[in-house]
């Protein structure tokens, strides 16, 4: 391809619409306009809000600098919601991977009709968080729910899954694990499909057993996929809202008051927009750290392949 034929310099007589920056902007402006109004401006605005005391309508009041942040970091309720969010991530992320991996391995078998199983195992992708939460609210219902019915069959106690402070967070986590299972299966299956058959065969010929092949060949080969899921799931869990709003509204006594739910309450019920904006900034920092981690560690995985 000759450089001369490409409209790279100031003006190309053959390609209508001008060249260079002006032409490019014509194509980029629709996206840039949306990003400017709904991403970049609000990002700056949110930083500003977080530095002010705000009126109930969200107007800027007194400049407090780091005041909102200081207040949050000294507030037992906020620290509690941070702790709840971390415990929630601890319940959901490892469980999601431990359940997703064997499902993905089954879905990776080369048998006839495997597409039916792949579709079934990843089906929860088609289900919204609102629908998932409502179905689980019913399954977890202390009186008519299936879970307590099954417990009753083995003479277990009747548990108020969503009203008992000890069980509410695990119950919301179980809902989340189920909802996210489909996504985990899809990503882990894609990772497994990237493992060369020859690699597995070679290990078999060398006398490695099932577990040895899994441990020493498959897991290292899919480690980028595992890591990707780990980070993406953690970021997703940090942003959980729908299931909490539907199942527990943050209760009982704050047991499920995850960060985003707490932001929602502060902004849209207590009308403390400045404080909520500062909370969102702290969440942003957490997500940035995780994303940075993803990129830096990912690169390392990619280079030694």
């Amino acid at each position: 391809m000759s450089e001369a034929a490409r409209p790279s310099v100031r003006r190309s007589p053959r390609s209508a619409g001008g060249s260079g920056l002006a032409a490019a902007l014509g194509y980029l402006i629709p996206s840039l306009a949306v990003f400017t109004v709904f991403v970049f401006y609000p990002l700056v605005k949110n930083v500003q809000l977080s530095l002010y005391e705000t009126s109930p309508l969200g107007g800027l009041g007194l400049f407090v600098g780091a005041g909102n942040y200081a207040q949050l970091l000294g507030d037992p309720a906020f620290l509690g919601s941070l702790r709840v969010t971390f415990v929630f991530a601890l319940y959901t992320v490892p469980a999601g991977i431990l359940l997703g991996l064997p499902l993905a391995m089954l879905a990776n078998r080369k048998i006839r009709g495997i597409i039916v199983f792949r579709t079934a195992y990843s089906f929860t992708i088609a289900v919204s968080i609102a629908a998932a939460a409502l179905i689980w609210e019913w399954l977890l219902d202390p009186n008519v729910g299936v879970l307590n019915y099954l417990l009753g069959l083995v003479h277990g106690p009747k548990i108020g899954w969503l009203t008992d402070p000890r069980w509410a967070l695990p119950a919301v986590a179980a809902t989340t694990v189920w909802k996210d299972l489909g996504f985990n299966v899809v990503v882990l299956l894609a990772a497994l499909q990237g493992v060369p058959d020859e690699l597995v065969e070679a290990a078999r010929i060398d006398g490695a057993g099932q577990w040895g092949v899994f441990r020493n060949v498959v897991v290292p080969a899919i480690s980028p996929g595992l890591f990707f899921i780990g980070v993406v799931a953690t970021i997703g869990v940090l942003q959980s809202f729908g299931q909490v709003n539907i199942l527990t509204q943050g209760g009982p006594v704050g047991a499920t008051n995850v960060i985003v739910y707490s932001i929602y309450r502060n902004a849209f019920f207590n009308f403390r927009f400045g404080l909520a904006a500062a909370q969102a900034m702290l969440l942003f920092v957490l997500v940035l750290i995780l994303t940075g981690l993803q990129f830096s560690v990912f690169e390392r995985f990619v280079t030694y392949q």
Binding site: M1, S2, R6, G20, L21, A23, A24, L28, P30, S31, F35, V37, F38, F40, Y41, P42, L43, N46, L49, L103, L106, I111, I115, R118, T119, A120, S122, F123, T124, I125, A126, V127, S128, I129, A130, A131, L134, I135, W138, V146, Y149, W178, L181, V186, V187, A190, A191, G225, F228, L238, Q239, N245, I263, Y264, A267, F268, A280, L283, F284, L288
Partner: protein, 269 residues
């Protein structure tokens, strides 16, 4: 032997994973008498559509479906257009600052929605858009993910095609519309399905910007089925079946594309 065992295991696992949905769908078809039966029945004895008509009477589900179709349809079309235009510029036009601008696009992927939530709510409110379709759709009309996805696809199209088109006097717009768009249909399908699914399933944003009953999307509208004194779970399940039917259909019909969309993030560009 082992294979037979694995086959059986796969079926059992599938049933366990799908149990909440199968049980919900089954219960939505039970008669009121059967719903209250103890022990609960797994499979309904007679199929009864009473819960569906009751759900449609309890809440304007048809209107919610229409609202969601309008929101998700607008967002999908918008993302296809804005992403195609931007991806074209990033692939086929050389201009100063191209790399920087591309990274600026990608940087929007790192900003969690919660950070822009409050200011966006205020923007929409000050525009007088609360309880309107523009509020539901406008913030999502462009996406770095879509731009990235289409750019990656455009990069796989042989450069000679572009060179030949330029020599033939083809304009940029014509090249994009007549050559690139038909060639990139698979990538467009992936983006379209991904956009529609994720918009349809939105929860927090519609909850904030919609207060009026008739403007609710399906996800927010579901709550109305629960608001009676005594919850009829079979009625709620009928509502759920109706609102997830479109995404289930899309998922089954476009499974390949759903997978490609979800794993695009895992692909190193």
């Amino acid at each position: 032997m082992l294979d037979r065992g694995l086959d059986a295991l796969m079926i059992v696992v599938g049933l366990v994973v799908l149990f909440p949905l199968l049980y919900a769908a089954g219960t939505s078809l039970k008669t009121p008498a059967e719903v209250n039966r103890y022990p609960p029945t797994l499979v309904p004895r007679a199929l009864d559509l009473g819960n569906y008509s009751a759900a449609l009477e309890t809440a304007p589900i048809a209107r919610f479906l229409l609202n969601s179709v309008i929101q998700s349809g607008t967002v999908t079309v918008g993302q296809l257009v804005t992403s195609a235009l931007a991806a074209f510029a990033f692939t086929y036009i050389e201009f100063p600052g191209r790399r920087a601008l591309f990274f600026l696009f990608l940087s929007t992927l790192m900003i969690p929605a919660e950070v822009t939530l409050i200011p966006n709510y205020m923007t929409v409110r000050s525009l007088g858009w609360l309880n309107t379709y523009p509020a539901l759709a406008a913030p999502f009309l462009a996406t770095a993910f879509g731009t990235f996805l289409l750019r990656q696809f455009f990069l796989t199209i042989p450069r000679e095609l572009w060179d030949a088109a330029v020599i033939d006097g083809c304009s940029r717009r014509k090249f994009l519309m007549a050559i690139l768009v038909p060639l990139a249909r698979p990538a467009f399908a992936t983006l379209a399905i991904y956009a529609f699914l994720s918009t349809w399933n939105q929860y927090l944003w519609p909850l904030l910007v919609i207060n009026s009953q008739e403007m609710r999307t399906v996800q927010i509208g579901l709550a109305l089925l629960q608001s009676q004194e005594a919850i009829s779970w079979s009625l709620v399940m009928a509502g759920i079946v109706m609102i997830i039917a479109p995404t289930v259909f899309l998922f089954l019909a476009g499974y390949r594309h759903v997978v490609r969309g979800l794993t695009a993030g895992a692909v190193k560009g």
